[in-house]
C-alpha cells in the first residue's frame, strides 16, 4: 500500500503554535549559539538573502553604468570594483551556500526523518565561519575594494594595489564553511537515515545535496590552498605564480578552475534537487525516472572534476588537452539532459497546479535549458576562441547561475516558506513576482548573447556606440528583475505577520517534511519515522481540506 508513512505528527494537520523550533527557546543567544539545524538554516537564509540584496545592488550599479558608453554614474576604477564585488558576493556568499546551507539545512534532515544533522556543532561553526568570511570579504570594500574580478587571476591579483588579501582570505574562510556543510551532509545521509529509508527512497533533493556535498568536500580544499598561495605570493613573493621569478601564472588558472568548475555544480546541482521536488508535487504525479535523476546528479559531480580545462582554451593550453577537455565537457550534457527530459515527462498527463513554486520551476526549465545549451557552444574549442571573454559567456553563466540556481532557490523558498515560517505567502503577489523575475531575467541576459556574438568583450567599461541599444535593453531588464525581487521581499516579509496560518502539508507533498507540523517541532520527529514508501508515492491518498488550506490523508487510508 503506497501511502505516506504514518507518524504521530500526521494527525496534527494544523501547526501547533505552542511549541515549535521558532518558539522553543527565546532570546538572541538562543539563536546565535543554537545547535538546531532548522535555526541554523534560518540564520543562513537571512544572511544569504541580505548578501543577495547587496550583490543585487552592485549588479544594478554595474548595469546602470553600462547605459551609456563612457561614464554614466561611476568612474572606471569603481566600475571594476563593483563588478568584482558583485561576482564575489553572488558566488561565495549567495549561490554556493544558498540552497544547501540555507534551504538544505532546514529541509534535508526533515526529509530524511532524522533528528538533526550528524554534527550539529560543526553545522553551527559553518555558519559562524560564513559570517567571518563575509566580514573579511566586505572589509575589502571598506579598505579599497578588490578589482580583480571574482576569479583573482594572477599576475594581476598579485600586483594590483587594491585590497586583494582580505577578499581572498574571506573566500578561503568561506571555503571551510562550505566544506563543513558538505562533510556534515554526507555523514548525515550515510548514518542518520531511519529504518526503511533506503538510498532509493531518498528524496531527489537529498540526492542532489549528497552529490553537491561530495564536490564541496573534494574541490573546496584546493581553492583554499590556491588562495593561500596567491596571498603568500602577493605578500612574500614566493614565486610559484610569478613569471618574473620563474613561476607559472597559468598554474593558478589550473588550480582555480579545478575548484571553480566543480563549484559551478555546487551551485546548480542543489537547484536540480529543488526542481525535482517541486515538479512532481505540483503535477500531482509520481516523478518519472527517479533513479536516473538521482544517479545523474552523481554523474555530473564526477564529470565536473574532469573539465576544468575548458576555461583555458585560450590560455596557452595544448590543443590535445583542449580537445580532451572539450569532449568530456560535451559528456556533461547527457546527465543534464536526462534530468530535464525526466522532469518534462513527469509533467506529461499530470494535473499541473500553477502555484508560485511551480512557476519558478517552469521558469527554471526554460532558462536553464538555454543556459545549458549555450554551454555546449562554449565547449567547442573553435567557437570558444571567438566567444571567449565576451558577453556571450556572461549571458551563458547568468542564465545558469541566475536563471538556474537563483530561480530554483526562489522556487524552493516559496515551496518551503510555509514549512519554515508557519505562514502562507500571498499567492497572487507570488505569481506576479515570479513573472516579473522571469521576464526580467530574459530581457537582461538574452541581449547579452547577441552582444557577445557581435564581439562585445566582458568586463569593459566603455563600448562602441552600436552596442548601446542592446545594453539599454539589458539594463531595463535588470531593473525589472530588481522590481520583481523587491516585490517578493516585500510580500514575504509581510506574510510573516499577516500571512494565513499554514497547514502541515499545504501543497500535498509526500516527502517526510510535510508530515511535521508547520513550523516543525523542535525535535522534528518524536519517534524515528518508519518509512514504507518512496518519496513521490501516494499523492492519490491525500485530499485537500478547504478548512485548513492543506492536504490530509484520505479517510480510507491506513494512516491514523
Amino acid at each position: 500500500m503506497a501511502s505516506p508513512s504514518a507518524t504521530a505528527d500526521v494527525v496534527a494537520p494544523r501547526s501547533s503554535s505552542s511549541d515549535n523550533y521558532l518558539t522553543h527557546d527565546k532570546g538572541v543567544l538562543s539563536w546565535i549559539f543554537t545547535l538546531d539545524h532548522k535555526r541554523i538554516g534560518v540564520m543562513y537564509l537571512c544572511s544569504v538573502l541580505f548578501a543577495f540584496a547587496l550583490g543585487g545592488f552592485f549588479a544594478l550599479l554595474v548595469r546602470t553604468e553600462l547605459l551609456t558608453p563612457g561614464k554614466t554614474i561611476i568612474d572606471h576604477d569603481t566600475y571594476n570594483q563593483m563588478f568584482t564585488l558583485h561576482g564575489a558576493i553572488m558566488v561565495f556568499l549567495v549561490i554556493i551556500p544558498g540552497i544547501p546551507a540555507a534551504l538544505g539545512n532546514i529541509i534535508m534532515p526533515l526529509q530524511l526523518g532524522a533528528k538533526d544533522v550528524a554534527f550539529p556543532r560543526m553545522n553551527l561553526a559553518s555558519y559562524h565561519l560564513w559570517i567571518v568570511g563575509a566580514l573579511f570579504m566586505l572589509s575589502s570594500l571598506a579598505i579599497n575594494a578588490v578589482d580583480t574580478g571574482w576569479t583573482f587571476y594572477t599576475p594581476y591579483s598579485t600586483t594590483t594595489s587594491t585590497a586583494v588579501v582580505p577578499a581572498a582570505f574571506g573566500a578561503f574562510i568561506l571555503g571551510f564553511s562550505s566544506i563543513f556543510t558538505g562533510l556534515n551532509f554526507i555523514v548525515t545521509m550515510h548514518k542518520m537515515r531511519p529504518p526503511g529509508m533506503t538510498w532509493f527512497r531518498l528524496p531527489l533533493f537529498c540526492w542532489a545535496l549528497y552529490s553537491t556535498a561530495l564536490i564541496q568536500v573534494l574541490a573546496t580544499p584546493v581553492i583554499g590552498i590556491t588562495l593561500l598561495m596567491m596571498i603568500i605570493e602577493r605578500t612574500v613573493h614566493i614565486g610559484i605564480f610569478d613569471p618574473t621569478l620563474g613561476g607559472d601564472p597559468v598554474l593558478f588558472q589550473h588550480f582555480f578552475w579545478f575548484y571553480s568548475h566543480p563549484a559551478v555544480y555546487i551551485m546548480i546541482v542543489p537547484a536540480f534537487g529543488v526542481i525535482g521536488e517541486i515538479i512532481p508535487v505540483f503535477s500531482r504525479k509520481r516523478i518519472f525516472g527517479y533513479k536516473f535523476i538521482a544517479i545523474s546528479s552523481l554523474a555530473i559531480a564526477f564529470l565536473g572534476f574532469l573539465v576544468w580545462g575548458h576555461h583555458m582554451f585560450v590560455s596557452g593550453q595544448s590543443v590535445l588537452a583542449g580537445t580532451i577537455f572539450s569532449a568530456i565537457t560535451f559528456l556533461i550534457a547527457i546527465p543534464t539532459a536526462i534530468k530535464v527530459f525526466n522532469w518534462i515527462t513527469t509533467m506529461y498527463k499530470g494535473v499541473i497546479h500553477l502555484d508560485t513554486p511551480m512557476l519558478y520551476a517552469l521558469a527554471f526549465l526554460w532558462v536553464f535549458t538555454i543556459g545549458g545549451l549555450t554551454g555546449v557552444f562554449l565547449a567547442v574549442m573553435s567557437v570558444d576562441v571567438h566567444l571567449h571573454d565576451t558577453y556571450f559567456v556572461v549571458a551563458h553563466f547568468h542564465y545558469v547561475m541566475m536563471g538556474g540556481a537563483i530561480t530554483a532557490f526562489m522556487g524552493g523558498l516559496h515551496y518551503w516558506w510555509p514549512k519554515f515560517t508557519g505562514k502562507m505567502y500571498p499567492e497572487k503577489s507570488g505569481r506576479i513576482g515570479a513573472t516579473l523575475v522571469f521576464i526580467g531575467l530574459n530581457v537582461t541576459f538574452f541581449p547579452q548573447f547577441i552582444l557577445g556574438s557581435r564581439g562585445m568583450p566582458r568586463r569593459y567599461y566603455n563600448y562602441l556606440p552600436e552596442f548601446q541599444p542592446l545594453h539599454v535593453l539589458s539594463t531595463l531588464g535588470a531593473y525589472t528583475l530588481g522590481i520583481g525581487f523587491l516585490l517578493t521581499a516585500f510580500y514575504l516579509y509581510r506574510s510573516l505577520k499577516n500571512g494565513k496560518t499554514a497547514a502541515a502539508n499545504p501543497w500535498g507533498g509526500a516527502t517526510l517534511e510535510w508530515q511535521c507540523s508547520s513550523p516543525p517541532p523542535y525535535y522534528n520527529f518524536h519517534k524515528a519515522p518508519v518509512i514504507s514508501a518512496g518519496p513521490y508515492d501516494g499523492y492519490e491518498n491525500l485530499m485537500y481540506d478547504e478548512k485548513i488550506g492543506g492536504y490530509i490523508p484520505r479517510k480510507s487510508s491506513t494512516s491514523t
Binding site: 573546496t220 620563474g246 523542535y522
Partner: protein, 327 residues
Amino acid sequence: MSESTSESATAPKTGGHGAHGLDHHAGPDDHAGGAHAHGDGPHLAHHFDTYQQQFDAGKLGIWLFLLTEVLFFSGLFCAYTVYRGMHPEVFVYAHYFLNTTMGAINTCVLLISSLTAAWAVRNAQLAQRKLLVLNIIITIACACTFMVVKFFEYEHKFHDGLLPGPAFHPTEQVWELESFKHKHPEAAEYAEKLTKAAEAKDHAKAAPAAVAAGAAVAPETGVFEKPTEEQLEPLLKAGVIGPTAEDPTRPSKPRNAHVFFGIYFFMTGLHGIHVLGGIGVFIWLLLRANKGQFGPKYFGPIDYAALYWHLVDLIWIYLFPLLYLIH
C-alpha cells in the same frame, strides 16, 4: 549556552543523562567494544540512537576531513612538482642547505608518536586508563620535540639569510657548505678556483696595471685545464655554473633560488601548524582521559585524533624526502 540548549533537547527524548534512558537506546544494536552501558550516558548526543551510530558517524566524518586535508596539501605538492619540473637546479642547489640529520630525527620522532597514538586507541578500547594517559603524554612530548627541532632549523635558516622572496641573502655559497664539500670535494675545490680566477679577472679590469700579474696567476690555479666530470657535474646540476647561474662570469647561486625556500617554509610551516593543532587536540584529550571519560563504549575522539595524527605524520613522510633528500 549551546550546552544548555543541547541538554534541554536531550531531556525528554533520550532520558538525558540517566543510565536508564541510555540503556534503553543503546540496546542490542550497540556493539562498540562489545560492552554495555554503565552510566556513561553523557557522551551519547541526543540525535543519535546508539553509541555505534555515533561512532560510525564520527569515523566517516574524520575520514572525509582527512580527505580534505590531503586535497589541501595536494595543491602545494602540485606547485612543488611544477616548479621542480621547470627549475630542477633550484632544488638541487637549495637542498644542500637543509640539515638532513635534523630532518631524520624529526621523522623518527613523528613515527614514534604515531605508534603511541595508535596504542592510545587500543588503551581506550581496553579501558587501560593509566596507559592511555601515558601514551597521550608521549605523543604530545614527541609532537613538542618535533616543533622544537623545527624551531632550531628555522632559526638556522633565518640566521643564514635563507628566507623566501626578496629577503633571501644566503651568507654562504653552496660549495662552501660542509654538506656539499663532503659529497663533492672535487667540485667544491673547482668552484673555489673558478671564483678566484674570476676575482683575479675583476682585479685586472679594475687596475689595468695588474693585468700581467693576473695572467700569470691563472695557469697556476689550473682553471684552464679541462675539468673532469666530478668537478663539473655537481656544479651544473645545482645551477651554480652554466645557463641557470645568476652570474655568468663565475660560480653563483642559480636564478630564483629563493623560490625553494618559499616552498620550504610554506610546506613545512603549514605542516607545523597542523602539528600545533594536534598538540592542542591531544592536550584536550589528555584532560578528558585523566577524568576517565574514555572506555570500550566511548573511545571515538581518541580514534579520530589518532587518525588525524597519522595523516600529519604521513605528510611529513612525504615532505622529508621531497625537501631534504634531493639528488
